[in-house]
């Protein structure tokens, strides 16, 4: 016993040199993590920098106001795609937002095993590749009606929206201090009253921006639209006909051999990213501050 203590004492008596080596090694590895961070952030700046640099130059009013030009000609715009995307987002929102919000509230209000099951399946739904959702809508909607349609595209986007809206709602509702809820319940308010008159109003701003962010993210989805909305070179706002969408335009124009198309693809990418980043930053500012200080 005593000998082991003795020996451990000996090994503990490190020479300064050894300590220095360990410190150097530590510093070396930590420097590597800095390098990794620089690579990650550098990749972002590389992607964004390029898009901004090239894309902003190709942005002009024509991009928003004009429809596509004849193949290979200059001067077309993305109007059809932008309007188509907006229409489909509207359809998607009418499905995705109510289900998402109610599902998120359910996560707060209910208890027991089923809550956990629902959360698990929401995660599963969130992880399903968007192309598979598109395939599903293709089978269920496009197949029987023999018609690509704006409705089918909107439906696919709506399903994609549900998990995100639900997660956001739940997270923001959890930020509302419990004291508010307890006070309301203590005054004899019913659970419905407590939610509708106390908790939801307190969380309103956060939920709204969170939902806008979910919508913006869904706006960039391309794969589920390929065989549901399908795209349309002509201007159309009919819900039962194929419709154009901004991400579909970006896809076809980026892979097109014509420089004028490539330019438009860049402009479209700038619009899409601008929208998403603006809403991300907005979400950050509206949700981050509200309750943290009160806690």
């Amino acid at each position: 016993m005593s000998s082991s203590i003795q020996s451990s004492n000996n090994s503990l008596r490190l020479r300064p040199r050894q300590i220095q080596n360990r410190q150097l090694y530590s510093g070396f590895i930590l420097a590597l993590t800095l390098v990794a961070t620089i690579i990650t952030v550098g990749a972002l700046l590389f992607v964004l920098g390029y898009l901004l640099f090239k894309g902003v130059r190709s942005l002009d009013l024509n991009v928003i106001t004009k429809g596509p030009a004849p193949m290979g000609m200059n001067g077309g715009g993305l109007r059809n795609g932008i309007i188509g995307t907006m229409i489909m987002l509207a359809i998607a929102s009418t499905i995705g937002i109510p289900v998402g919000i109610l599902g998120g509230i359910y996560q707060i209000e209910a208890k027991g095993k089923f809550v956990w099951i629902v959360r698990f399946f929401t995660d599963v739904l969130n992880g399903i590749p968007s192309v598979v959702i598109g395939l599903f809508i293709f089978i269920v909607v496009v197949g029987p009606t023999h018609q690509f349609s704006a409705l089918a595209g909107g439906l696919a986007l709506g399903i994609l929206m549900i998990p995100t809206v639900m997660k956001t709602t739940e997270e923001i509702l959890r930020l509302v201090p419990n004291a508010l809820r307890e006070a309301s319940l203590g005054l004899g308010a019913s659970r419905w009253r407590t939610m509708s008159s106390v908790i939801l109003p307190a969380a309103k701003n956060g939920i709204i921006t969170g939902i806008m962010l979910a919508v913006a993210r869904v706006a960039g989805e391309t794969a589920p639209l390929l065989y549901t909305a399908f795209g349309n070179t002509l201007f159309s706002i009919k819900l039962n006909k194929p419709i154009d969408a901004l991400p579909l335009d970006i896809f076809t124009m980026a892979t097109s051999p014509y420089a004028s198309d490539n330019r438009l693809a860049l402009a479209g990418a700038i619009i899409l990213i601008g929208l998403i980043f603006f809403l991300s930053i907005l979400t950050r500012f509206t949700t981050g501050r509200q309750f943290v200080e009160e806690k």
Binding site: Y25, S26, L30, T33, L34, V35, A36, T40, V41, A43, L44, V47, Y50, L51, V99, L102, G103, I105, Y106, E109, A110, K113, F114, V115, W116, V118, D123, V124, L125, G127, I128, P129, V131, V132, I133, F136, V140, I159, P163, L185, L187, G188, R191, W192, R193, A223, L226, P247, I250, F251, A254, T255, A265, L266, A269, L272, I273, I276, F277, R284
Partner: protein
């Protein structure tokens, strides 16, 4: 199961929430009304949650039902054969399944070290004023739509990769010494030139849209996910754990390696698997850069390939009959694989979070 989260501290059992005597004036009818209203309210919430379950199960059943033809005709051969030929109506998905796994593996190999390094830096080293903007930047990177990554890859990444990586490799040669026994029993040492382009993983005719490009763009796309999850896990580990390690005389890296990382291992693995799930199902960016070759699978990094997702995206438009059924079966496989992968990841993250909470208290 003890998994059902005890998240709500105020136990308001059904009907037990109204403090009894405080509301003298309110009539009994009012209270029963609000009680029914509450039941309706919970019912609606429940219905919304059921919708989510219905969608997941509906999806699974519909995909399985719609692919019954190919399941019936090809059976297990669908996963083991190499031929995909719409002209002769023979379909086997092995090339696409392998390409999906291969490209995701490449992506993970590149992405995991970088993501882990970034996560460690962000959670352990980064000065406070820099932490929030950097984390936010990483989150933004995760929000960029896949089609935009594809566009960037086409215009920037592929030309760069062709010029500085693929062409040098395919044209480079190595001299390796070979022992040669000559006709006159002289032992000579010859040098034999090996063209790297002859190796099975580098094709000579590289044109940029290939497996390597798919792997690279996937790596760029999943890095933010893995970083974000790993950072969250690392941040959740209590300070006291690190301080204990410092007090025993460890350096910063030793504390991370010996104490922090073992704590976070399962959760970080979960994050990596989550990234894998993303990579497996990623469609647009991969479709734009992978070359969409339909031949048998090769390990060749410069081979034009198709992943499961990209073959669905490319072929569904002009498919009919058995072809559609085959594509749907690919979708079904993709669904099942990503579901299993994601479920595994979520469970790992969930249990790590639980462990950390338990250990911290």
């Amino acid at each position: 199961m003890s998994l059902s989260s005890p998240s709500l501290p105020n136990k308001t059992g059904s009907g037990g929430f109204s403090p009894v005597t405080a509301v003298k004036k309110s009539s009994l009818r009012d209270r029963t009304f609000s009680r029914t209203l509450d039941k309706v309210y919970i019912g609606i919430l429940f219905a919304a949650s059921l919708t989510i379950l219905a969608i997941v199960f509906g999806l699974l059943l519909q995909l399985a039902y719609s692919s019954r033809d190919t399941i019936h005709v090809f059976g297990f051969n669908f996963f083991t054969k190499d031929e995909w030929n719409p002209n002769t109506d023979v379909y086997a998905a092995r090339p696409f399944i392998m390409a999906t796994l291969y490209s995701s593996l490449i992506a993970l190999l590149i992405s995991v070290p970088i993501s882990l390094g970034t996560a460690i830096f962000l959670s352990e080293l980064c000065p406070k004023w820099l932490r929030t903007p950097l984390s936010f930047l990483v989150e933004l990177l995760a929000a960029v739509p896949s089609v935009v990554y594809g566009l960037w890859a086409i215009f920037i990444m592929i030309p760069f990769v062709v010029k500085y990586i693929e062409t040098p490799i395919s044209t480079a040669s190595m001299k390796i010494p070979v022992l040669h026994v000559g006709p006159h029993a002289h032992i000579e040492l010859l040098h034999r030139r090996i063209f790297l382009g002859d190796l099975p993983i580098f094709d000579k005719a590289a044109n940029g849209t290939d497996m390597l490009a798919a792997g690279l763009i996937l790596a760029i796309m999943i890095t933010p996910y893995i970083t974000a999850v790993s950072r969250d896990i690392l941040r959740a580990i209590p300070r006291s754990v690190r301080e204990g390690s410092y007090a025993l005389g460890s350096t910063k890296w030793e504390a991370i390696k010996l104490v922090v990382l073992p704590f976070a291992r399962a959760g970080i693995t979960g994050g990596v698997i989550l990234g894998l799930g993303r990579a497996l199902g990623e469609t647009m960016a991969v479709t734009m850069v992978c070359g969409n070759g339909m031949g048998p699978f090769k390990w060749d990094l410069f081979n034009q390939c198709s992943t499961m997702a990209s073959v669905i995206a490319n072929d569904l438009g002009d498919a009919s009959g058995l072809h559609i059924s085959a594509l749907i079966e690919i979708g079904l496989v993709l669904f099942l694989v990503t579901m299993i992968v994601n479920a595994g990841a979520r469970l790992l993250i969930f249990f790590t979070a639980k462990d950390i909470q338990g250990g911290g208290k």
